[in-house]
Symmetry: C2
Subunit: 345 residues, 2 copies
C-alpha cells in the first residue's frame, strides 16, 4: 500500500509531511511512501527519519504550487510541481493514493484532469467528517461544486453512503439532504428533485429526507448531502462558531482567581475536551468520485493532522471505496434501463 | 409607541407574552401594548399583570395560526387569527410594530400581504444578530428568500447597512457578501454580480468584499449578506455547533472529582459565559423591507427572549429604520437615472 505525498504542500512542509508519515506508519505498518519534492531537501529529511527510509522513495519535482495560484494557472504551469507529480504517480499505478496539504482548488483541478472522474460520476466532490452528539457525520460537497444539479446531489449521496458503509463501517447509514426545513415542500427545485431521486432509488441508500443546519452536529443522519456553496459556508461557520465558543471559554476562566483555580483543577478534563473537539481529528478534505484516491490535508496541518489525512487515503484504498461506488452506480443505471425498457413496452 | 403583540403565538404563549411585555416596559417606559388573542384569557392575564394594565389594550381574535400551518393556508384561513389581527393593527396605524413568536413562514406571508414591501424593496428579508469575537454582526437573509438575484442581495445590503447604522448605532458599518472564498473570482454568478453592484454604488455603504463562513463569528464585518438558503443553513449550523460544544463542556466537567470541583469554583464565570453566548440575547428574526415593522420571536421564546424581540421593534420604530431605507434607495435610483441620462446624451 503506497501513498504518494506532496512533500512541498502546506505551511509547515516538508518537515511536517515526514513527521506525519511517521505517525501514519506506526498506525499502519504496511504503508509505503512516495515523497515528491525538492530532491536534496527530501533526501536529507529521509536520512533524519530512519524508520521511514526502508519503505520510502523520493521522486524529484521542479516547482511548488502556491496557496494563491489559481487552479487554471497551476494546471498550465505546474506540470513539474510536487503536487502534479504526486498525482501522476497514482495515475501511473505507482501509488494507491495521494495526499497533499497544498492549494485545494489546484489539487482538485489537477486530480480531475489527471485521474478523471469515476465512470458514472459527473462531478467529484469534497467530503469530510464532522463531530456530532452521537459520533461523526460525513458531509459533502464542501466546496468543489458551486452550482449542483439534482443528479449531482444524487451522486454525492451514493458516494457518501458508500463511504459511511465501507470506510467508516456503519451498518445501514442514513442519508439526509441539507435544506431550510424538513417538510417536503421546503427549499429550491434542485433539492426537491434530488429528494425525489433519493426517495425512489432502488439502491441500498436509507434516505432520511431533508435535514437542517443543526442536524449536522446533532448527528441526525450519518451522511449530509449538499451543494458545494452551502457545504463550504456551513463547514466554515461551524469552525468559526467552535473558535468563538472556545475564546469565550478562555476569557471565562481568566475572569477571577476562583475561576482560574477552577481551571487548574479541571485542566486534564478540559484538555480532553480540546482533543475531542480538535479539528485535526477530522482533518482531510476527502476527494470523492475520482478515478484514484486523493485527500487534501488542511494547509495549516501539523504532523498529527497530516497523519489523519494519510489514514483516510489508506482506508479508502484498503476498503475498495471506488469499486463499491462503481458497483452502486451500475446498479442504479441498470435499474434506470429496466424502467426505460418497461416504459417502452 | 405602541407594539401589537400576537399573544397566542409561541410554545409558552400567552403567559410568556405578558411577562415579556413587562420586562420590555421596564426597559422602555414609553411603550404601550396591543395584546391580540383569546379575549377572556387575555383579560384574566392583564388583571394579573397590573403594571401593564394602564398602557395596554386587548383586541380579540378567533383563531391561532399553528406551527405546522403552511403559509398559504394561514393566509387564506387565518384572517381572524391573532397573528393576522396584530399585523392589521400596524397597517391601520393602531400600532408602530408587531411581534409574534408564531409560525415564521405564516408571519412573513401575512406581513408581506398586509403591509406590503417598502418602495424599492423587491423582497423583504429576515435578519438577526450573531455574537462575534468583536461584538455582534447583523446577518440577512436568514430564510425568507430561497433563490435571490444580485439585485435582491444588493437591497439586503442596503437594509443591513441602515440597520447597523441607525438601529445599532455603528459608525460606518462594513458590509460583506458571504461566499466560498474572498477572491473576486470565487462563487457563483449571482454573488459576483452583487459584488459588482456594491463595489460601484455611490451610497454610503462601506463594502468590504466577500467574506467566508468563519468571518461571521470572527466579526470581520458588521453586516453579512447572503441568500436565504445559505443564511438559514449557516444560522442553524452555528446554533448546532454551539449546542455541541456546550454538551462537550458539560460532559467534561462531570468526568472526574477534580473537574467537578473545578466546575464549582468556576461556576459564576461559567454562568456569565452561558449568558454571553445565550441565543436569547439575540432573539428576534427581524423582518426588513416591509412597509411596517414586524419582528419574529423564536417559537420556544421565554419572557426574556420575547422582551428582546419587542426591543428590536421598539428600536426600529424609534430610529426611523424604514424611512432611512427609503432615503437610501431613492438616492440609489436617482444615481441610476443620472447614469442612464448621461449614457443617452
Amino acid at each position: 500500500m503506497t501513498i504518494a505525498l506532496d512533500a512541498m504542500g502546506g505551511d509547515q512542509a516538508p518537515e511536517m509531511v515526514f513527521e506525519g508519515a511517521e505517525v501514519a506508519l506506526e498506525r499502519h505498518p504496511d504503508l509505503c511512501f512516495l515523497f515528491v519534492g525538492d530532491e536534496a531537501r527530501l533526501a536529507d529529511l529521509l536520512r533524519r527519519h530512519e524508520n521511514l527510509a526502508a519503505e520510502s522513495e523520493i521522486r524529484p519535482s521542479e516547482s511548488v504550487v502556491t496557496g494563491t495560484d489559481k487552479p487554471a494557472t497551476a494546471l498550465r504551469q505546474g506540470r513539474r510541481s510536487s503536487m502534479r507529480i504526486a498525482i501522476d504517480a497514482v495515475r501511473d499505478g505507482d501509488a494507491n493514493g495521494v495526499v497533499s496539504a497544498g492549494n485545494t482548488g489546484a489539487l482538485m483541478a489537477m486530480a480531475k484532469t489527471v485521474l478523471r472522474s469515476l465512470p458514472g460520476i459527473h462531478r467529484p466532490a469534497i467530503g469530510s467528517l464532522f463531530p456530532t452528539m452521537k459520533g461523526e457525520t460525513v458531509m459533502l460537497d464542501l466546496g468543489a461544486n458551486i452550482d449542483c444539479s439534482a443528479e449531482n446531489l444524487f451522486e454525492f449521496a451514493v458516494m457518501g453512503d458508500v463511504f459511511a458503509r465501507n470506510v467508516l463501517g456503519i451498518v445501514e447509514p442514513s442519508v439526509g439532504l441539507l435544506n431550510v426545513g424538513i417538510e417536503s415542500y421546503k427549499g429550491n427545485e434542485i433539492v426537491r428533485a434530488a429528494a425525489d431521486l433519493l426517495r425512489t432509488q432502488q439502491l441500498s441508500i436509507k434516505f432520511h429526507g431533508f435535514v437542517e443546519g443543526d442536524d449536522i452536529t446533532a448527528g441526525t443522519v450519518d451522511v449530509v448531502v449538499c451543494d458545494g456553496f452551502t457545504g463550504n459556508v456551513a463547514l466554515k461557520t461551524a469552525e468559526g462558531t467552535a473558535r468563538l465558543y472556545s475564546e469565550f471559554l478562555k476569557a471565562t476562566f481568566s475572569e477571577s482567581v476562583l475561576s482560574r483555580l477552577g481551571y487548574l483543577l479541571a485542566r486534564p478534563a478540559l484538555s480532553a475536551l480540546r482533543e475531542r473537539a480538535d479539528p485535526r481529528r477530522y482533518n482531510g478534505g476527502i476527494f470523492l468520485g475520482l478515478n484514484g484516491i486523493a485527500v487534501k490535508s488542511h494547509g495549516a496541518s501539523d504532523a498529527l493532522a497530516f497523519a489523519n489525512a494519510i489514514g483516510f487515503a489508506y482506508d479508502m484504498a484498503t476498503h475498495g471505496f471506488n469499486d463499491a461506488v462503481i458497483d452502486e452506480l451500475n446498479r442504479w443505471y441498470a435499474g434506470q434501463n429496466d424502467e426505460a425498457k418497461a416504459a417502452t413496452r
